[in-house]
Assembly symmetry: C2
Homo-oligomer: 198 residues x 2
DNA sequence: ACGCTGTCTATACGCGCGTATAAATCAGGG
DNA sequence: CCCTGATTTATACGCGCGTATAGACAGCGT
């Protein structure tokens, strides 16, 4: 295994421990059993290395989101919806530190064209993926044209991201699946006057 | 006006321009027409100053969110719901850079007890506020006990935050109010089998 | 007029950072 | 077996950072 791979691995580990902004080139070298100059050689700069590592992390978060979204879309009865929302919270435990680093990098992206393009592309990808799942799983049950499916996807992703943020800040007080479902129902009733189940 | 206020103002301006992580003590001094040592004198450290400024920004975001949530909760007919969601997107334009800095600080908070406590407290506050608005505005229309109102509040905040994130990344492709409402309906139908309006 | 207290200023210190450079090492084809 | 190009090493450089310190200065009660 070359230094390139070692450095990527170390970057991922450090992103879990210290967060994007506080990783130094020397940290990376120490954690990867490589050499200070390897960073420049393989990635051009420290930022290049970190961005590459962040890209991998985004992909994993994306995978998890897609899986959850699929289950959410499929879950017709109330009981299953509850289980689905819970799955998001469960999965977060392993990813806490990585998510934080991801948020940090996300904020940086606005001033870093390369990173920003990378994020935008990956986001488009996940939304398309979720939208596809939604359209497929709702097929026949409800008419879901493509723009509508995309809106659903955006919405689902927004909820997941927003809840993840809340959980990062205060895991204990983050609502459970039951509570969320209840909230969703309340909101929908309020905004339409519909009474579900009638 | 003392240096303390000048520094706070400069911090806010710089948070808009450069982002949390890239502000140096000398930047702050240059932007505030003060002295390098004033930072230590009034705030203990650069971080102390920045955290104070971030607290102000959080409060403003919180105010905006509360206002939007109120309108969302109140909006019974479909047309008004649409208008409400749109309000969130409109309001974001002025706040783009501040939001980014906020996200950056948010990520830092996990490794900074003081900052974290500050955020958590402010978050509790906004959730209680939104929950109160929800309970009040839905009163009589639907039974909204306190835990349920809190769940609604969490949910509404999650949606706002998640959408804000998407908008930060890619303003053009963020769904409109119409699209969001449509998505919400679709999701609700799928997870309950209810057909709104029947 | 004096000294105390809160504020402001000028400056120095030393550390740790990211990166560049040049030499050493290695792998494999001719 | 050496030449070549890719990789790995060791090290040096200079910059900019956050903070500490010590002194200047103003307001003001006495």
């Amino acid at each position: 295994m070359g230094h390139r791979e070692q450095l990527l691995g170390a970057a991922r580990r450090l992103l879990e421990d210290k967060g994007y902004a506080h990783i130094t080139a020397r940290d990376l070298v120490a954690a990867s059993d490589t050499n200070l100059a390897s960073i420049g050689y393989h990635f051009g700069s420290k930022a290049g290395l970190l961005n590459a590592a962040i890209g991998e992390i985004f992909d994993e978060w994306t995978d998890q989101l897609a899986e959850i979204a699929m289950r959410a879309a499929v879950a017709t009865p109330v009981e299953r919806a509850h289980v689905t929302w819970s799955a998001l919270l469960d999965g977060l435990d392993n990813k806490r530190a990585l998510l934080l680093s991801f948020m940090e990098a996300f904020a940086q992206a606005d001033r870093n064209d390369e990173l920003r393009a990378q994020f935008a592309a990956q986001y488009q990808q996940i939304r398309g993926r979720v939208a596809g799942l939604v359209a497929e799983s709702l097929h026949g049950q409800v008419t879901a044209d493509e723009p509508r499916a995309k809106a659903v996807a955006s919405f689902v992703i927004a909820v997941c991201d927003g809840l993840a943020m809340q959980w990062l800040l205060d895991p204990v007080n983050t609502p459970t699946g039951d509570e969320l479902l209840s909230g969703l129902g309340l909101l929908w009733q309020a905004s339409t006057g519909a009474r579900p189940g009638e």
